[in-house]
């Protein structure tokens, strides 16, 4: 197809992409640094970027940041592996068999609105403080994101493809494996990405309360020491890691589902 000139092309041409991405963060950092040095606000509550930077160096060099990060990541991995292995098959069958969905649905619909964090007290009673409780909370938040997207994916499979497959002699088994399953994959990936996002939200909250390690714990620990620079390092780490993991999944999706990316061209 012939390339179509877009209205914003003049602006696109003049500003390189890298510049457009960093311009706002740089301005914010510069103003922030200046504000802190001029003591426009109390640096105890909001330290200047330069202090945060050296705090980050300190945490990185001591290995402390990495240790907490590894703990959080391990919990997220365990929680998501369990969530995927339960929610994907469950969602698939719920999407395929209406009566099965109706049996499960009423029950799930009452559990679903309960925020994962509301499970923390019960989780602590059941599993005690530590690893298991944190994994449990993370698991609950990831579970529903994956389940709902799996069901929606199965339902959303193009009905004309099902008819085409049947007229090409597909048996029920072939229909499910060759039409419904690949047709559900895009929605599955959306589910994984959302699950990863909410995993980070709930794991930090869970670690604040129920753990003595992990990035969530680190943040709450430095609050007691009034080290807002180290708190900010922890927060930024979560932001950066979350972003990178999302991009990683997106990259994986483009590799595994090339036909879909081309659709978006």
């Amino acid at each position: 197809m012939a390339p179509v000139a877009r209205s914003g092309s003049a602006l696109r041409g003049k500003l390189p992409r890298a510049f457009r991405l960093v311009v706002l963060p740089v301005i914010v950092l510069v103003l922030w640094e200046i504000g802190a040095r001029m003591e426009l606000f109390n640096p105890i509550f909001l330290p200047p970027p330069s202090r945060i930077f050296s705090a980050a160096q300190q945490l990185l060099l001591s290995g402390e940041l990495f240790r907490h990060f590894a703990d959080s990541l391990r919990r997220i991995a365990i929680a998501n592996v369990i969530a995927i292995s339960v929610a994907v098959p469950l969602g698939f069958f719920m999407g395929l068999y209406r009566p099965f969905e109706e049996v499960i649905d009423g029950f799930l619909n009452i559990l679903r609105p309960i925020p994962p964090l509301a499970w923390i007290p019960l989780a602590i009673l059941w599993f005690g403080l530590g690893e298991k409780s944190v994994v449990f909370i993370t698991l609950i938040s990831a579970f529903f994101a994956i389940l709902l997207n799996t069901i929606a994916g199965v339902r959303g499979v193009d009905k004309s493809l099902v008819r085409a497959a049947l007229s090409l002699g597909a048996t029920r088994r072939v229909l499910i494996l060759q039409v419904v399953l690949p047709g559900t994959l895009p929605s599955l990936f959306t589910g994984f990405r959302i699950a990863l996002g909410v995993s980070w939200m709930s794991i930090v909250a869970a670690e604040l309360i129920a753990s003595s390690s992990g990035l969530g714990f680190m943040i709450s620990y430095y609050r007691e020491l009034l080290r807002s620079d180290l708190i900010l390092v922890g927060m930024l780490s979560i932001g950066i890691i979350g972003f990178l993991m999302d991009r990683g999944l997106l990259w994986l999706e483009q590799r595994l589902l090339p036909w879909r990316v081309r659709l978006e061209l």
């Binding site: 004309s160 007229s167 002699g169 060759q178 090339p258 036909w259 879909r260």
Partner: protein, 256 residues
């Protein structure tokens, strides 16, 4: 005369909604002979698509039966190849993968599949696009893939539901010529539903004109135009006479 390939007997279809029933289709008898190209046309909402989907086994009629070479139809099956207006290609499969689909589903040997796919791609002019995904193709190309996919399967009867309805006028004409060219080579038995009168006359051996709801067979018009159908045939006066005749039939139905 050739053998009867498809026979519909006593087909009645009624839709019930909110306690009110609506008669959609009433076809006591409809026969298609082997190697025949039948086009079905009628005012919009006359149930012509419903009729085709009943023949395909996707919709169940309240009464009547469909037989393919004397064998009663019970649901969709590979003896009847379907083509849809919406292409219905598998987006995660390449062109070659789509053409191979039906054969794979039936467990045909790989070497044989490759052979048939190549042959179909050549016949439909898709060879250079074998490794493209459907999303990269134009509408006309997509429908060519759908045609190759269904021909690869070698069904006894081809059922086509307004297959060129979503294409622009020029592409549609090109596809009609393409279909005629392929048909001259294979002489597949085809039932082709359309709302385009010219298309119905140009392609068909017989044009079945349905009445407005409920759809009944108003008239079956024998089209005595020479084959192969060429542009000359399309431009001929006889072709226009058929067109005008069927046009009047449909107009009188729509006004009813």
């Amino acid at each position: 005369m050739n053998e009867i390939a498809l026979e519909a007997t006593g087909i009645k279809k009624v839709y019930t909604k909110n306690g009110r029933s609506l008669e959609i289709l009433d076809v006591p008898s409809f026969r298609v002979r082997e190697r025949e190209f039948i086009t079905v046309i009628g005012p919009s909402g006359c149930g012509k698509s419903t009729f085709l989907h009943i023949m395909g086994g996707f919709i169940e009629a309240q009464a009547g039966s469909i037989q393919i070479y004397g064998k009663k139809v019970d649901g969709p099956g590979p003896d009847r190849g379907m083509m849809f207006q919406e292409f219905a290609l598998f987006p995660w499969r390449t062109v070659a993968g789509n053409v191979a689909w039906g054969l794979e589903a039936q467990g045909v040997a790989r070497a044989r599949i490759d052979e048939v796919v190549l042959e179909q791609l050549d016949m439909t002019g898709l060879r250079d696009f074998a490794h493209h995904y459907p999303a990269e193709l134009s509408g006309g190309m997509k429908q060519r893939v759908a045609l190759a996919r269904v021909l690869a399967f070698d069904p006894k009867v081809l059922l086509m539901d307004e297959p060129f309805g979503a294409l622009d006028a020029q592409t549609r004409e090109a596809m009609q010529d393409e279909l005629m060219r392929l048909w001259e080579r294979t002489h597949k038995t085809i039932v082709f539903v359309t709302h385009d009168i010219e298309e119905a006359v140009y392609l068909g051996d017989r044009v079945v004109v349905l009445t407005a709801r409920p759809g009944r067979i108003r008239e079956v018009v024998q089209i005595d135009l020479p084959r192969p159908r060429t542009l000359e045939v399309k431009k001929s006066i006889r072709c226009h006479e058929y067109r005008n005749y069927i046009w009047d039939l449909i107009r009188s139905e729509s006004a009813r």
